[in-house]
Structure formats: C-alpha cells, structure tokens
Symmetry: C2
Subunit: 330 residues, 2 copies
C-alpha cells in the first residue's frame, strides 16, 4: 500500500496536511504551487468573507465570535490572518483575553497567520494560495483578516465573496476616507465596541455616507444593489454576532439570487492571475537588478542623472525580453 | 530663428511649458516621456516634501500656508496633489475657503492635481514624472500631497526627501496604525486643527508610539537617527507654519549632514525604476488579456476551476516571453 499523497490528505480535510501545505506556499516552494494546481478543481465551495479595518478595532475578536457561531451551526471554519497587528499573528497566547484558545483545540477550526512582510509581493500571492488550500481542505467558511485603513486596493480582501469593514467609535479617519470616496464601500459595516457613547453619532455619519454613495449610482445599479447594513457588535461579549451572521447569510443569498457571485469571482480570479504574474515579474526584475552588473551600472547612471528612470525601466524590460528570447532559443 | 523647444522653455521655468509637459506625461504620450528623458540631467535640485494623512485633516490648507511662507522667503513652489479627496483636485473654486486662490495668481507657484484613478498603475508613474518636471522647471520646493491612512507603501510619497504625516485630533485609526507598526514612522508629524481640546492627549499618544519605535532600533540607528518632531498647526489661520518651516529645514540639514540624502534618493530612484518597469509590464499583460483569445480561454479555464491562477499566470508569462522573442527575431 502506498502512502496517501499530501494532496489526497489535504482534500480529506487533514489538518496537518493543510498546515504543511500552507507552509509550502508561504515558503514559495515548487511543491506548494504544484499542490495548489492539483487541488484547485476542488475549490470554489467555501464561503470566503474578508474582514478589513484599522488596527485595534477588534477584528480578531469579532472573527473569534463569528467562528463560535459557525461552529455551533456545525460548519467548519478556516481563518487566515494577514494583519501584522493581529493577535492571531502574535500567537495564541493572547487567546484567553480574546477568547480564541477554545478554537485552537477545536478540530473544526483552522487558524493561520501570515505576516512575512519581507517577501515583496510574495505575501499576498501566498495568502491567495493559502485561501485556496483552506477551501480545498473543505473549510466551509473561510475568514480572511487584513488590516486596511482607507486604501482602496487591498489585493487579498478583493478575493472575498463578502467584504466586511470593521470600525469602532473613534474611527474618524476611516469615516473620512469613506466619505471622500478614497475607501470603497464594503458589503457589510460592523461597528464594534458599540457600547461606546459615540456609537449612535457614528452610525448616523455612516448612513449619511452610504446614502450619498447611493446617489452616485445609476438606477440599474441601485435596483440590483445591496443595501449595506451597519451592524453594532460587542465582540468581546459575543453581542451582535447573531445579527452579523444573519447579515452575512443575507449577503450570500443576495449574491446567489442576483447572479453576481459568479461575476464577482470571475473578476477576482482575473485580478488574481494578473497579480501573481505581476508579482513574479517584479521579483525576477529585482533579482536581476541585484545580481547583474549592467543593471547596477544602469542604476548608477540614474542616480548620477545621466539616464532618467523611465528610460532605465525601458532598458530593463528590453534586457528581460532578450533573456527570455535567448532562454527560449536554447 | 527657430522656435524654442518645449524642453528649453520648461528648463527656463515657463509655466505654460510646464503645464503642457505634465499633460503629456499624464496622457502617457511618448513626447512626455521623451521630454523627461531630455530634462532629467537638470533635476535633483528641488527639495521634495511629501504630505500624507487621512482625508479631511487639512493637508491642502497646510500646503497652502507653507507655500505662502516659502514664497515670502523668495522661493518658487510647485504643488502636486495626488489625493482624489483634495480641494486642489476639485479645482480652485474652493480656494477662497482654503485660501489658495492667492497662489493661483502667483507666477511663483505652480499647482497641479492628478486624480485619474482609471489608469492602472499609471497614475503614480505619471506623478513621479510630473515631480521631475517641476524639479527641472526650477521649482525650489516641490510639495506632493497624497492621501494615506495607514498603508505603508504609498509609492509616490516614497520619492520625497522628507515625509510629513498630517493628522488631526480624532485621527484614531492612524495612531493605531502607527502603534501597530502598520504605518511607517514619517520624518515629521503635524497635528493640524490643534485648537481642539484633545490635541494634548494626542501628542502624548504619538510621543508614546515614537519612543517605542525608538526602542526597536539598533544603537547605530538611534545614533544616526532623526528625532521625529510633532508640530501643532492651525493651518487655516497660518498658526504653526513657522515652526513647521523650521522643522523641515532642520530635516533637510540633517539629511545633508548625515549624508543620507544621497542614500535616500538612490533607494527612491531604484524603487522608481522598478515601479515603472512593473507598471508597464502589468499594463502590457492587461492589454494582452483583453485582446488575445488564448488569454481569454485561459481565464475561462481558471473560472471553471480547470487551471489554477498561478499556473495561468505562468502561461501568461511564458506567452509574453515568446512574443518578446518573436518580436526580437523580426
């Protein structure tokens, strides 16, 4: 009898296989990419929810509370944290404060943090692969946590079916960013730590922003569109979790009814292919820039103001094409 | 007698030539790139200061106040706004409220906003070129305004000699992002709207973050390092501008004394070359993806879960290399 492969163990939901697989993609090992290739046909079943928001608003605690609710409903959960400021990232030791330890012992919950900021462009690439692995391993809910404070383009979160923005009273910068159109309107907004006296004011402010955002839509968009709910939670006491679960389910139902899930996933996958291709090219360029004397001379010429950056970039790209061509000829 | 070229007019400081030149790079016209190539040897003289911070904190008003101070000192100023929420971007009509109209009539001040978010990756590329054009046109101070709420990588701001983070009382998300290490420590921190009662609390909080950030440095770093000043301003009344000018001058002196200006610019230029090269490759890939049937089929296969995104990205890159090779053979 031959030993079951990593892929088959992963597909069977084996946690150790899953952990090993994610490490492989995190370390950018060829076996990791090969594995994703192999199991990819089995993906697309998980419901992927992305959580973004400034540090300190309680995203991890909220995900913890949500995980409990999903587990009680008999579903399996995978959590992927890409937030370097997250308690998940800092290990499980903070767990008892944030009530996460229970999940670390639960076979139905798989928590993984990725915070290696060293790999340029590599992190979001690896994170996307890791999300696919969680999906392939049969996790029914995949929660992705990223930190974001108003930037529109956060690659990883863009690959979620539902995007939840988590704020708390005092999140003035984020509200301003929403108001200014710098931050995109998410699918669901959560105001955590809602026992704060300024919560009502904040809800009103957000409602104002949302109704303005609605005005800018075409009638078709408004008709097909989802009314972004604002959910108040106190995640550390589990308060508001039920409503959040309900809203997430409603959004899923809306995506399916409107037929927009397929469309959204197509757009996400297109962006994913492009993001991976671009990240690889950039890494290749960077590597060449470090090791190749000609590139070093080129950079020197830019520093000495003899060649402008755009022309240098052009030379860089030409040289890459020549390399590719000669590699092709061999 | 032949007519003076656009380049020579630009180098002579002609405002209309400058405006025309920036439009050329903004529209991604070959003449624009050619022009930057031509005038690049004359760049590197401007003092480039980047202003970042959440929308609504008063960056534009602050830049307006600073511009007045620099003009009074007899210096010429160029302002480049990449913030879609900036009053600069919305035209000069808000000017009288934010006291900018005076500058629009002053020949010594050149204000330009760029907010075309359509061009993928193209905006920051064009903005970098525009900053070089302002420099070549002899602007002694170049102020670049970008919106940022906690993200570490904001390409454009990274090309400044000095980075100023502008906050206001209530910028809780940004403070959290600084605290969590998600946002990089800038060179100068401004708290605008400092007549707010919570300003003192905020200054204390920031000081706490800065002293923690110091603890994480090596002794060498601390020795060579710059002590980040916190400047309180009320930009709408011009209050605090003098101190800010002083701090900016001190930072410039520090950069020159420590010899870090050359080092910083080298790093910036290296990143600039890479960023332009990557943006071009990405645009080329995108264009190919739209027009090429094979790419469309590839994407379809990804959507149908037959080919995983990373493999598709690999095929995409291979195909690009083949194209380059066959273009090379011709």
């Amino acid at each position: 009898m031959t030993e079951p492969t990593l892929a088959s163990r992963l597909l069977a939901g084996d946690r150790r296989a899953l952990a090993r697989a994610i490490s492989l993609v995190e370390d950018d090992r060829p076996e990791g990419w090969e594995l994703v290739r192999e199991v990819y046909p089995e993906t697309g079943r998980a419901e992927v929810v992305g959580f973004t928001g400034p540090p300190g608003v309680g995203k991890s605690t909220l995900i913890g509370a949500l995980t409990r609710a999903r587990r009680e409903a008999g579903r399996t959960v995978g959590v992927l944290s890409i937030d370097p400021s997250s308690p998940f990232t800092h290990g499980a030791l903070l767990g008892d404060r944030i009530r996460l330890t229970e999940h670390f012992l639960d076979q139905g919950v798989f928590i993984r943090s990725m915070a290696n900021r060293g790999a340029l462009g590599g992190l979001s690439e690896a994170a996307l692969q890791a999300a696919l692995l969680l999906d392939a391993a049969g996790r029914q809910d995949v929660f992705v946590e990223t930190v974001g404070v108003g930037q529109a383009e956060i690659d990883i979160i863009d690959h979620a079916d539902t995007i939840v923005l988590v704020l708390m009273p005092g999140s003035g910068d984020s509200i301003q960013a929403l108001k200014a159109g710098v931050m995109e309107i998410p699918d669901v907004i959560v105001i955590n730590k809602a026992d704060h006296p300024l919560t009502d004011t904040m809800v009103r402010e957000i409602r104002g922003v949302l109704s303005l955002a609605n005005l800018e839509r075409t009638p078709e968009q408004v008709k097909a569109s989802w009314r972004v709910p604002i959910v108040r939670t106190e995640a550390n006491r589990g308060k508001g979790t039920e409503e959040l679960v309900e809203r997430l389910d409603q959004h899923r139902a809306h995506l399916l009814a409107a037929g927009t899930l397929a469309e959204r996933r197509r757009r996400n996958l297109r962006n994913e292919v492009l993001a991976i291709a671009t990240a690889r090219m950039r890494r290749r360029l960077e590597a060449d820039l470090e090791s190749d004397d000609t590139f070093q001379e080129l950079l020197e010429a830019v520093v000495e103001r003899r060649i402008d950056p755009a022309s240098a970039a052009g030379s860089l790209l030409e040289r890459e094409a020549e390399r590719a061509a000669s590699a092709d000829a061999r």
